[in-house]
Amino acid sequence: DVKVTQSSRYLVKRTGEKVFLECVQDMDHENMFWYRQDPGLGLRLIYFSYDVKMKEKGDIPEGYSVSREKKERFSLILESASTNQTSMYLCALGGRNSGANVLTFGAGSRLTVL
């Protein structure tokens, strides 16, 4: 089974702090994604990457950056955390099922910014 590991399940940070959210996969998949999930807004795509050192903006990239130095690791960075970035962050790995592209998600990182 594919495994997507988000090392930090719960974080509490202060406004202005730099935050790193790590995501590691145990397969050799190219496509990795970062979403945030908020009540009433659903899942929104922040950034994605199709390969090492490649990154593409999603629907809400403002205030975020990403790093993909190695294929297995995709990091989400909040350069200066703000209270409106309090959210559940989900990393996902792209795969295939029944001929369609699907996602395998990590368990999520719940970030609170005070």
Binding site: G40, L41, L43, S98, G99, A100, N101, L103, F105, G108
Partner: protein, 112 residues
């Protein structure tokens, strides 16, 4: 504009009841997926449907893709407390971008 509308938003039922949740769009989708997310966890893929009219069964769960590939439904027979969670539909719009479009989900609570 929400490309995938899920209904109902919330559903609370008793153990043993049947239920259906819906995922609708005005757009045609090349495929639709259903995920279940338990509290505090990430979504987990349940099924993918790719052919109009397709029906797939997963134990007590039955998934259907509309003939026109604009809608899908999930029917649960004899719901159990373990079915509690957020059910998300997602899909790729035919001829659209390669980004996966998500509905906002149906939050199901099955009471013992």
């Amino acid at each position: 504009t929400q490309l995938l509308e899920q209904s109902p938003q919330f559903l609370s039922i008793q153990e043993g009841e049947n239920l259906t949740v819906y995922c609708n769009s005005s757009s045609v989708f090349s495929s639709l997926q259903w995920y279940r997310q338990e509290p505090g966890e990430g979504p987990v893929l349940l099924v993918t449907v790719v052919t109009g009219g397709e029906v797939k069964k997963l134990k007590r769960l039955t998934f259907q893709f509309g003939d026109a590939r604009k809608d899908s439904s999930l029917h649960i027979t004899a719901a159990q407390p373990g079915d509690t969670g957020l059910y998300l539909c997602a899909g790729y719009i035919q001829g659209g971008s390669e980004k996966l479009v998500f509905g906002k989900g149906t939050k199901l609570t099955v009471n013992p």
